[in-house]
């Protein structure tokens, strides 16, 4: 069965990579960009760059308008409505660090922060370090056999000392939706703040932060076919007043004298310094492009491709999957074969996949593995990409066994 992608030609880099004999299957790390984004970047730089929220002049007004339009498009993409604000950061990691510093004053020694065992380092280390700074306990929710956060354990571990829950929507290693509604309900029952790391989740399907009901939702542009250097932090109106300003300088200030200053509320108060203007405008163009696609068709394509990948892998002997991947990616190891050796030989054959710990060292350690190979999909991938990968995998395994 062939699974062609009707959107492949919208991403010029795919053809360029193909000319270099490269098959790109590392989309959970970053994605290729649609022509619409390249056009928007070229248009912005070719028609007059200017700083935003500062100048009276016309180029400044145009840049500010395009910048703020992107903010509106992000809000629409997440169906934020009037429920909160969209803050632009420099990435998902910087958004999570902003939260870990901006919320710090709300924690007292002995309070608990709850994360899960599958968190990416970006949603682990900021909380771990906050816990060290304030004498907090970092509670780690365990996973069940399918790689989902164990809800029975969560019900025991989320309690009156829990001040904040920070969990991923979709694991970057296990490729499974996490039971967010139940987890968020547990946290809210104890009046804890809720943070959702949507870095992987936002790329697949559409999500509604109002329906989700989280206090904060974080993602990065570059994984969603947008430019790098931009992250998004959605903050719910009720939670934003509890977020203190973190980085200082530029137009985030309201009044400043030598000894004192006051700062703007969200979003501008949390966007210190000149933001990545072109990238934010580019993200808006990407969202325009994505909004124009038939989302059901995209979902169906991604599901068919994932199925193709899963069945192809399971047909090969000695191959072990991590968890029970549902979508987007599959991580695996091969019995008796070191993942570094396999990665080496896939690289030799022009297959771009990820090997190693996937920025989730504790998770890989819990599987007793030094690393794994991860194949991750995007809407422009097709079954031919996967056939090339399977062929290379077979060649590599033949050499290694």
């Amino acid at each position: 069965m062939l699974v062609p992608s009707p959107w492949r030609a919208d991403f010029p880099a795919i053809a360029a990579l193909q000319r270099q004999d490269q098959t790109y299957l590392d989309n959970a790390a970053t994605t290729q960009k649609p022509q619409a984004l390249l056009d928007a970047l070229a248009h912005y730089y070719a028609n007059g760059a200017a700083n935003v929220h500062r100048a009276q002049h016309l180029p400044g007004a145009h840049a500010t308008q395009a910048f703020e339009n992107s903010r509106r498009k992000v809000a629409q993409w997440l169906n934020a409505g009037d429920s909160g604000q969209i803050i632009f950061t420099h990435g998902a990691t910087s958004a999570l660090n902003l939260l870990a510093y901006g919320l710090e004053h709300q924690f007292n020694p002995g309070d608990e922060i709850v994360i899960s065992a599958l968190e990416h380092h970006a949603n682990l280390l900021p909380w771990q370090q906050l816990a060290h700074r304030r004498g907090l306990n970092l509670v780690v929710l365990p996973l069940d056999d399918d790689g989902l956060i164990d809800l029975d354990a969560a019900a025991r571990l989320i309690g009156p000392r829990t001040r904040l829950l920070a969990v991923s929507q979709l694991s970057n290693v296990l490729g499974a939706w996490q039971p967010l509604p139940q987890l968020l309900a547990l946290a809210k029952a104890h009046h804890a703040l809720t943070v959702v790391d949507g870095a992987q989740g936002v790329v697949h399907g559409r999500h509604d932060v109002q329906a989700l009901g989280c206090d904060f939702y974080v993602f990065s542009s570059h994984k969603l076919y947008g430019p790098d250097g931009v992250g998004v932090l959605y903050g719910r109106n009720e939670a934003l007043p509890g977020l203190r300003h973190w980085q200082f300088g530029g137009e985030m200030v309201q009044q400043a004298d030598y000894q004192h200053a006051s700062f703007r509320p969200a979003p501008l108060g949390f966007e210190a310094g000149t933001p990545p203007i072109a990238s934010v405008i580019g993200l808006g163009a990407t969202l325009d492009y994505l909004s124009g696609l038939d989302q059901d068709a995209v979902n169906a394509h991604e599901a068919a491709l994932h199925d193709y990948l899963l069945h192809g892998l399971l047909a090969r002997k000695g191959l072990r999957l991590l968890g029970k991947p549902q979508l987007a990616l599959v991580s695996f190891v091969v019995d008796g074969v070191h993942n570094a050796d396999l990665a080496h030989l896939l690289t030799e054959q022009g297959i771009a996949v990820r090997a190693g710990h996937h920025c989730a060292m504790p998770l890989l350690k819990s599987f007793g593995l030094p690393g794994a190979i991860r194949v991750s999909l995007a809407l422009y991938n097709d079954s031919e990409d996967l056939e090339r990968f399977f062929e290379a995998l077979d060649q590599a395994l033949e050499l290694l066994r």
Binding site: A340, A343, L345, G356, P370, G371, L399
Partner: protein
């Protein structure tokens, strides 16, 4: 400076290997020929960090000449390390300071294994070797 016999043998076989498959086979053969590292040497202090696999490297200066020993749990990096040792073992401290190791892998047709984004660990092994050589 003339090449050690092992290095000449490596050059001969790798320069005659046209494709990635032959190079991979050769790497694995070289890895298998690498003298085993004593279990006592596989300790944290000898671990080379920055590798996807576990790599250990020890070096001793005997009568003014370096002898390195190494091991890895991954086969291809073990082969790369074997090729490295073929080039450097027996060199004097002064010779080791002068040897151009990136050029050595380039001559073997393996320069891509040293590109900055490669996390196979060969760069880290080279770095550790320089540290060991610099502190004696």
């Amino acid at each position: 400076m003339s090449l050690p016999a092992e290095a000449l043998a490596a050059l001969d076989s790798f320069q005659g290997a046209p494709g990635w498959e032959q190079r991979a086979r050769l790497l694995m053969q070289w890895g298998e020929r690498l003298a085993p590292l004593a279990e006592a040497d596989k300790v944290e202090a000898n671990r080379v960090h920055g590798c996807e696999s576990q790599v250990w490297l020890v070096g001793t200066l005997q009568d003014g000449h370096w002898q390195f020993a190494a091991s890895s749990d991954a086969r291809l990096i073990r082969g790369l390390v074997a090729l490295l040792l073929a080039r450097v073992n027996g060199l004097s401290a002064e010779e080791l300071q002068r040897v151009d190791l990136p050029d050595w892998f380039n001559q073997l047709g393996l320069s891509r294994q040293l590109s900055p984004s490669r996390s196979n660990g060969l760069n880290a092994v080279l770095q550790r070797m320089r540290e060991l050589a610099g502190t004696r």
